[in-house]
Symmetry: C2
Subunit: 329 residues, 2 copies
DNA sequence: GGGCGGCGATAGGAGACGGCTATCAATCCG
DNA sequence: CGGATTGATAGCCGTCTCCTATCGCCGCCC
């Protein structure tokens, strides 16, 4: 197969029709160029140049090959440029997976600031459940994901965005509404509604209820958070929602009310994760920082840890950390 | 600059997403492929693949580069094929220069046989004077030329086509027409018309006249062979024409007559020449042979040297027929 | 949880290829 | 007929790439 060096050599020769000049143009010696052209003729099995000591002419094949060689070299040049252009950070597309219990409450705070700050970055959102997100992330269909702890982060790097407490959400027409923060044990006496399989919020709710000593759950399973909310409003039970969701869903006139738990309140952390092996890690860290700023600026009902105010608390997700957060939540 | 080997390596990897398989496909070892891809990333200054020991993913740049690499490799492949296709003999175009005193008499014999025998060969004719033909040939604008001896063949190779005698052409209404072959000295008593500068026939005529001891020429110079013929028919003098031209121009009803000279009659050889350095020499030799056959088959008024007669002994038109025709004209 | 198998990266040595300088052979010029 | 110029050749050397052997890491499975 012809080499790039051979094509370059021949293209220069075809341009100049003079071995020494062409060699000089390429910064090589005349014999080197002679060799390269001869080698190209050898591999192609065709004479490309008619050589006399006084004249250099291209054969028919030579004309054709010269034309194509120029095209090929141009293509390689463009390839190199395109590689660098495509590799430029904050350009092109970034595919972000977001879990359904976070998306509707977080995205309004994020989208505008991200678009403003990175106008050349196309953000493509994928609202998927945690397990699906893990698959897509591993397969490269997603670059980033917004997940809730615990994250079993094999080969993933998680960057902390914010913490949110769980709140008790109950019907707005409750005859004996709680006053102020309630203890976790309150849950024991209530029918707790949970979502159906596949949503991480379900697992988190069950975990909290286990801590609180609950063993009776409402039999109905909600397929979506919207359904869950409607069920509560309909008086079928109570549920736990992250504070970011609770303040929205239990807004005045919604038919719902929400209250927080005594400290230490149960909660979860929301993190931005990417494959540890991604070469865009630095770019993604900057995105995480922008997201934190956006969350603060938007006044979301979250707890922002001190360290995240200063720097990105990004780290590879160890099993221990995940376990600790799980027991805390 | 990226090398072809690197692009091939990366393209294979992008296809398989597996170093060992890709290496096997290319018939190289896995470390070699690893190296090649790493080198490509180095020269491009961009990560192309996300490597984990368990997973290989393309980055954005990788996707783009893979696409372009495939295109470039395809282009190189096509280049190689095109080089060989273009180099195939008896295809494409061949540019042939023919001197004006030969073209109208030779080409009718040649064109059909050549087209029949080499249907894929496009013959492009250029009727030019000898000096111009030499320039065009040297510049590569012509591949072949049909010239008359003497040919100053610096860097040129001549292949003999045929010999033609000069004949004396005189007005058809001459009161004392010659009977049979005449001696060269006949020219001394006649006003000889010659062509203007630039035509090799002029030089050849002058040479013959010098041999014959002529010093008086008609003052008019013909710009073309057609003009020359008209001048003779008009009674302004006589001239010398090659037999191939004479038998055509002095045909019955033309107002001209022609007669041959005593042996050894003056004449010239018509040759097919090409640059000695041309890689198509073999192809051109075959063309020359075909031309000789065509000349024989067409019954042109020429002398064919022995070796070319034996080569086509079955092909009729032996030298007796030519001689008979010569005496007839 | 620990051994096992498969993966890509790394190390070191052998080989080839391409590069250079020096020189030759052929052609054009005066 | 000599000088100058051009492309080809010879011989040597550096570098680059390829190979085999091995490592470190990760996922799997008993």
């Amino acid at each position: 197969m012809p080499t790039v060096a051979q094509l370059r050599a021949f293209a220069a020769l075809a341009e100049r029709l003079h071995f020494r000049e062409a060699a000089a143009e390429l910064g090589m010696s005349q014999p080197a160029l002679s060799n390269a052209v001869a080698a190209l003729e050898e591999t192609l099995g065709t004479r490309l140049v008619e050589r006399t000591t006084r004249r250099v002419l291209l054969t028919r094949s030579g004309e054709e090959v010269a034309r194509r060689a120029r095209a090929v070299l141009g293509g390689i040049e463009e390839l190199a440029e395109a590689a660098q252009a495509t590799g430029r950070p904050f350009t092109g597309e970034v595919h972000i997976g977001v879990i359904p219990t976070v998306a509707p409450y977080l995205l309004p705070a994020l989208l505008r600031p991200l678009k403003t700050r990175y106008p050349d970055l196309g953000i493509v959102l994928h609202e998927q459940q945690t397990s699906r997100i893990h698959l897509s992330l591993a397969a490269g269909q997603l670059d980033l994901a917004v997940l809730a702890t615990p994250v079993d982060g094999l080969g993933l790097t998680a960057m902390h965005l914010y913490d949110e407490d769980f709140m008790l959400v109950y019907p707005g027409d409750d005859p004996r509404p709680p006053r102020g923060p309630v203890p976790l044990t309150t849950l024991r006496e209530l029918p707790v509604l949970v979502m159906e399989e596949g949503h991480c919020l379900r697992e988190q709710t069950l975990e909290v209820c286990h801590e609180a000593g609950v063993d009776g759950f409402a039999s109905t399973r909600a397929a979506s958070l919207a359904t869950l909310v409607q069920l509560v409003a309909g008086g079928l039970g109570v549920t736990l929602l992250p504070s970011t969701a609770a303040v929205i869903e239990a807004r005045p006139g919604s038919g719902l009310a929400a209250t927080s738990f005594h400290a230490p309140a149960p909660g979860r952390s929301i993190v931005l994760v990417h494959r540890t092996s991604s070469p865009r890690a630095q770019e993604f860290a900057a995105l995480a920082e922008t997201m934190r700023s956006a969350v603060r600026a938007h006044g979301m009902a979250v707890r922002l840890p001190e360290q995240s105010v200063t720097a990105a608390a990004s780290r590879s997700v160890p099993r221990q950390a995940a376990a600790a957060r799980r027991s805390r939540g």
